[in-house]
Amino acid sequence: MIEILPLFILLPLLGFVLSLLIPAKSENWLSRIAFTITGTHFFLIVGFIIYWLFHSYPTLNIKELVLFKTPTYEFFIDFYFDKVSAVYLFVGAFLTFLVTLYSRDYLHREPGYKRFFNTILLFYTGYVLTVFSGNLETLFIGWEILGVTSFLLIAFYRDRYLPVKNAVKVFSVYRIGDVGLILAMWMSHHLFHENITFLKLNNAEMVNEHFQSHSFIGVFIAMMILMAACVKSAQLPFSSWLPRAMEGPTPSSAIFYGSLSVHIGVFLLLRTFPFWEHQYSVRILFGLIGLSTSIVATFIARVQSSVKTQIAYSSIAQIGLIFIEVSFGLNDLALYHFAGNAFLRTYQLLVSPSVVAYKIREQFYHFVPRKQTLEDSFPKRIEYSFYILSLKEWNLDTFMYKYYWNPFKWAGNRLSFLSFNKALYLFVPAYLLALITSFYQDDIPVYIHHYLAEIFALIGLLMVLKAFTERRQTFLSWFLVIFNHFWVALAISFNEHFGWKETVFYLGGITIAGTLGFIILRRMKKLEGNIDLDSFHGHVLKHPKMALFMLIACLGVSGFPITPTFIGEDLIFSHIHENQIVLAVMASFSFIVDGIALIRIYARVFLGPHLKSPEDAPYRSS
């Protein structure tokens, strides 16, 4: 039965590709493909799970495809199937099938009909891939797909300001989770000296043995996994992104933020359970985060006066409880709780427009002027304080600004003196110099050599910070983002000699995608004149094809699994030693900012209200 596993991933992928080929006008064919594929998939999965149950539900593992191999390093796709996969798969397939059916009529006549089904199918591919993944690398591919499709669905109404702004915001929070995973992969390379599969993690003796000698590394990995899970499942302190993600059509909010996407964090915890099972301090931390999230989110949910944000915060609170259940090792309960919560929230979001008719009617017959709530029994000062605090979402959104975006902005703004020419005169010779140094690095004194890698990585980081805050010069921003990768590659080459093949893998994709992006930007500049980064331009209205290619270019540069850069990134990290925390931090910061800067360029140039036709543009506040 193991041979069938890849089929489950290929089927939605096939649906995605087919849906791309169909003209936007034929709603019927688009929806038919979507629900045939998801429907077939659902029934296959049900059949498979039943078959699997009757064959004493073994844990399945298949090493599917080796993508890259050197004597010390192997990047391979691995599939895995067990109880956790079964539940996630069933819930995911069921809800996706229902939601595609639901959306068939619901989205009728919506201008983005095709885009919607493309994105849903791609999302589903990513979801299935994540759920089937047998190692962190495979999981990461699925994870990235989920991130990008999230961005696309939040910004579904791309001609309005708020959806685009929130999409960029959510994407940049997701980026923290991505880095968590990358660092976890990095450290586990060093811990296990291979791309370890989840199957092997089940071998408690083996895992324990590794921990004996490297207890810090074990904690580090667990913390990174936890961070990734907290981001994706909107736990503290990242919770405030979830209500802001409710910008797309209601069914997409239901399936993403009500059910499937937010529970992926829990999935990650369950999947890596054997890894931290015996790290009790980490488990206590899991539990505490879950506990504090569920309390805070409940307070916030109680004061929410809009239907969708209330559901969002209630869902976060339940996921907090699931975290606690996982930390206690009650994995079966957690799985059941996940399924129940996912179903409930999806349904609640889908019927949320009915709430007006229902509640007004209920109120008409049962109105009580002012219901006493628990909080009314608090002392007045406490009551008001908690109310205002909850109204302000416990400052969670401000927190993200203060400790996440603003420091990056601040650092980038210090570099505002760099104009295009200055940057050119500064960085190009510097890079050449550095390149020359790298050829003669054996002649460099050891104590200098030691720092060079970090210095170069820092220069790379500064470049992306500048790119991230640049307001005028789009090209400068674009070049800096690309150059960043070259600096990182150079920095790592000081660390260890790695072959030209690896360099090609890493920089090849970036160069191609970078050139593509440059061509598009130049063409846009010629056609439209203004493409600066000071405001959203909304050029997608007139240039949808260019926008699509630009998106692909941005994804290519940012290491999305469509170019070999994706593997290269993992590869690069494998060359950072486990004691080079500074280098790892800088490389991962570059990686975060790099992604945000890229999506910012894409969003500013192509998304938002069309600046050139203000008479048709929606209000900024709408």
Partner: protein, 835 residues
């Protein structure tokens, strides 16, 4: 106390702003109105120009769209010529034709609104809106919330600002980030003027600053203003005013600026050096405006002319059937236009009438167990009567999924484990087998079918909340007489007279009350129908009516009914009180209704792409019913979309015509009303109701982003009173795109069958009604009742009109038409209704 501060008069400015803000009431009372009501004192085109230049609203289709319509043949070339001739003279025909069809215009002018406040970004590089709005909207929504939040706003009885003050005074946490704003709030002297002094500093900019600020989120400001003026719009009353909103917003702005700049910042006015242009400065009509105007008129007359031609050629002598199977009184509503036609087609012996659907009985309705009173008459009226339901069932079924406890922590834990899987099952069922659920807003639930009503007052009358319970005999006589005389039904009653109110069912539709009867303040009209029937069946009432010239024979009986315009179902009330000898005829008529409703459903299905129109009418009807209760269907019906006409006259004027559900129809017989007394009574509500509906559709269609609500699909219900996109958006007044996408933006053409001088005389007696016509917000045509000559009204006078369209086509079988067309259909002469 109001103080005079130089040029800025706070009271006047706020009053003016309130006038221009969207006037949409909270969701439970969706009432259509002219979106640009504040401009109604101006001529339509002038108003459109001004609204465009000051507020940036799009007020007509774009030139490209008009040209597109022309190339699709939807604007008639002959009419274009006629329009140019009328406006510009025949000698300029070719010049203007060229301008309309060929010439390129570059017309982009930026609106004046926002021009003061945008300087924050320009000079201070700060995005004030994105820092202020989230917390402002959140606080407003929580304060006004009607029952979504579990933990309500802790202080509520004092008014918005005082409540905030009370909370700020007694809290460790503040809504503000800095001290100064908080202290300003706590010192109760902070006035709008003093805050503007801090923020703006230049008095001549104050007024426009406030306009900029409030129109940057006109949804919220409009809602606050509407609740301030009509606190009953919310079941859970909230005290709030635009003044409070503005003060709070100004404080938040100061707070954000204090927080952003560590230093003292100079007021905005100090940086603005350029000469300031007043917001409402009228602008000249340019050639581009003239071209747009010609296009709009040509577009409208292309349709008007076709209709007028049809009416003119419609045979003059359609008399009412001699032996009547029944008579039916329907609402004036454009959706009733087709059901009346189908009834008449199916049963040539029936006769139908149209009148506003509250049937001239205005009252509050209180269902059994209800805690509130529902107004069931046109919105501007304030009834003195109360009708109570006895023996109703209250709320009916409930759904645990809507329960607030699902969102609590511990109960939520339990719920998600139990109710969770159950929701999955329910969702599955609704997608594969949609059916009625507690989530559905059903018109038939408004009043329980088998309940009794307290229609007649006791002696002496009882009062509740200052309202008299039930009507006295005199009140009844007056109302029945008023209605029957206005529609010209004083003799020749059939044995059975059906009085049919209408409502609409839908699910997942926050606009549900916009689909119900507009003449009943957005409620189903079934109660009114029953109340009217009771009165008309009353022996004492009939006796007195006879004295006043209305002779209802003893054997005539009135039967109330409610028709659902979405499901095309009908319920008759008090059938069990019918005597034996009526029953057979009634059953026969019920079959007629059933068949007509099937046909009506089939006709409606032609515009609903996701419902298959092929097959028998009964089959299509089943599909329509299923559609209405489907969660995933954002268009339960199309409501008033495509409305463009209002016909006031005898049924014979339009009986033989296929008008494609585009006409409001009010029955009226000029012969019984030679001096136009009843006509005035008809026009007075018809102009604001039909005109309001028409113009709301018009403006939501031409500018769906700014004057409409955009697409419905991402809408998020805010506090049960409004809708916004996502979590932090402004409220979206107006109609969503799903309601207006098939609508053609034409002004209403009111066709009145009477002598022009009588119409003019009637109109001149009511200045506020006359304004609609004088300023061209509604177009008016008089049909001479004796020879069907036509006269159009312009600039205060009637002018003779010659139709341009040739023959009206004859339609034999509409069935095919319904299966294969989704576009507007031309006016046809119906073969089945020819004499």
């Amino acid at each position: 106390m109001k103080k005079e501060h130089g040029s800025f008069n706070e009271f006047d400015v706020l009053h003016q702003i309130k006038h221009y803000l969207p006037a949409q009431a909270p969701l439970k009372d969706f009432i259509h109105h002219n979106t640009l009501h504040a401009f109604q004192h101006l001529n339509f085109f002038e108003a459109c120009r001004l609204a465009n230049s000051s507020f940036g609203y799009k007020t007509s289709l774009s030139l490209k769209e008009y040209r597109q319509l022309y190339s699709e043949g939807k604007i008639n070339p002959e009419i274009i010529k006629a329009c140019i001739n009328r406006r510009k003279g025949e000698e300029n025909l070719s010049v203007w034709l060229n301008k309309m069809i060929e010439k390129e215009y570059h017309s982009l002018t930026l609106p004046k609104i926002g021009s003061v406040r945008k300087n924050w970004k320009k000079f201070y590089r700060i995005d004030l809106d994105s820092l202020v709005f989230p917390i402002l909207f959140r606080t407003l929504c929580s304060y006004l919330d009607q029952g979504i939040s579990i933990w309500n706003f802790p202080v509520h009885h004092k008014g918005f600002l005082s409540s905030l003050r009370e909370m700020e005074k007694n809290s460790f946490v503040s809504l503000f980030k800095t001290e100064r704003a908080k202290n300003l709030l706590l010192s109760s002297t902070c006035s709008i003027h003093s805050l503007l002094e801090l923020l703006v500093g230049k008095e001549e900019l104050y007024e426009d600053y406030l306009y900029d600020q409030q129109f940057a989120h006109q949804g919220w400001s409009g809602m606050v203003s509407s609740i301030e003026d009509n606190p009953n719009g919310l079941l859970d009353h909230k005290k709030i005013s635009l003044h409070d909103l503005i003060v709070f917003e100004l404080l938040l702005e100061i707070d954000v600026l204090d927080n952003h700049f560590t230093d003292i910042w100079a007021p905005l006015g100090s940086r603005i050096k350029t000469e300031h242009e007043p917001l409402m400065k009228p602008i000249m009509e340019t050639e581009f405006h003239k071209v747009l105007r010609l296009w709009q008129e040509a577009y409208e007359w292309s349709f008007y002319d076709e209709v007028l031609r049809g009416i003119q050629t419609n045979p003059l002598t359609i008399s009412s059937p001699s032996k009547k199977s029944f008579q039916g009184l329907f609402c004036i509503d454009d959706r009733e236009c087709s059901i009346r036609r189908h009834l008449e087609l199916h049963d040539s012996n029936c006769e139908t009438f149209g009148t506003p659907g509250f049937f001239n009985v205005e009252f509050y309705f209180k269902p059994e167990h209800g805690k509130f009173y529902d107004k069931v008459c046109p919105a501007p009226m304030t009834p003195k009567f109360l009708v109570k339901e006895i023996g109703g069932k209250g709320q009916g079924d409930t759904d645990a999924n809507f329960h607030k406890q699902t969102n609590s922590l511990f109960f939520g834990w339990f719920i998600s484990q139990t109710l969770g899987p159950w929701s999955a099952f329910k969702l599955f069922l609704n997608i594969f087998m949609p059916r009625m659920s507690p989530a559905t807003a059903s018109s038939f639930k408004h009043m329980h079918h088998k309940s009794e009503l307290s229609i007649e007052s006791s002696n002496p009358p009882q009062f509740e909340h200052g309202m008299q319970i039930g009507f006295g005999i005199d009140d009844m006589v007056q109302r029945v007489e008023g209605l029957l005389k206005s529609i010209g039904l004083q003799n020749n009653f059939a044995q059975l007279v059906y009085v049919v109110g209408h409502g609409s069912s839908s699910v997942n539709n926050p606009y549900y009350s916009a689909y119900d009867c507009g003449a009943c303040s957005g409620r189903p009209g079934g109660v009114n129908a029953r109340v009217f029937c009771y009165m008309a069946n009353h022996k004492e009432v009939r006796k007195r009516l006879a004295e006043r010239g209305v002779h209802i024979p003893e054997e005539t009986i009135f039967i109330g009914a409610l028709q659902d315009t979405a499901t095309d179902e009908i319920a008759f009330y008090d059938e069990d009180k019918l005597g034996e000898n009526y029953l057979q005829q009634h059953l026969q008529n019920k079959k007629t209704f059933a068949q007509a409703l099937d046909n009506n459903a089939k006709e409606r299905s032609r515009r609903l792409v996701t419902t298959d129109s092929s097959g028998s009418a009964a089959l299509v009807h089943e599909r329509i019913k299923r559609r209405v209760v489907s969660l995933f269907e954002p268009r339960p019906e199309l409501n008033h979309a495509t409305n463009a006409l209002c016909i006031i006259g005898r049924r014979g004027l339009s009986k033989g015509l296929f008008l494609d559900r585009r006409a409001f129809m009010n029955s009226y017989d000029y012969a019984t009303d030679p001096d136009g007394k009843y006509l005035l009574n008809i026009l007075k509500p018809a102009a604001p109701v039909c005109g309001g509906i028409n113009l709301e559709y018009y403006f939501s269609r031409v500018d769906n982003q700014k004057l409409g609500a955009g697409t419905k699909l991402p809408h998020n219900v805010m506090g049960l009173f409004g809708l916004a996109n996502g979590a932090d958006g402004d409220l979206r007044p107006g109609l969503p795109i799903q309601m207006i996408e098939v609508h053609d933006p034409l002004r209403l053409l009111m066709i009145v069958e009477h002598f022009p001088e009588v119409i003019l005389n009637s109109l001149s007696q009511s200045p506020e009604t006359y304004e609609w016509f004088k300023n061209d917000w509604i177009k008016l045509v008089a049909v001479h009742p004796e020879n069907r000559n036509l006269y159009y009204f312009e600039k205060g006078e009637f002018h003779p009109y010659q139709t341009i369209h040739s023959e009206t086509q004859l339609l034999e079988n509409a069935e095919n038409l319904f299966e294969n067309n989704i576009e507007n259909l031309p006016v046809y002469q119906l073969k089945g209704l020819m004499v």
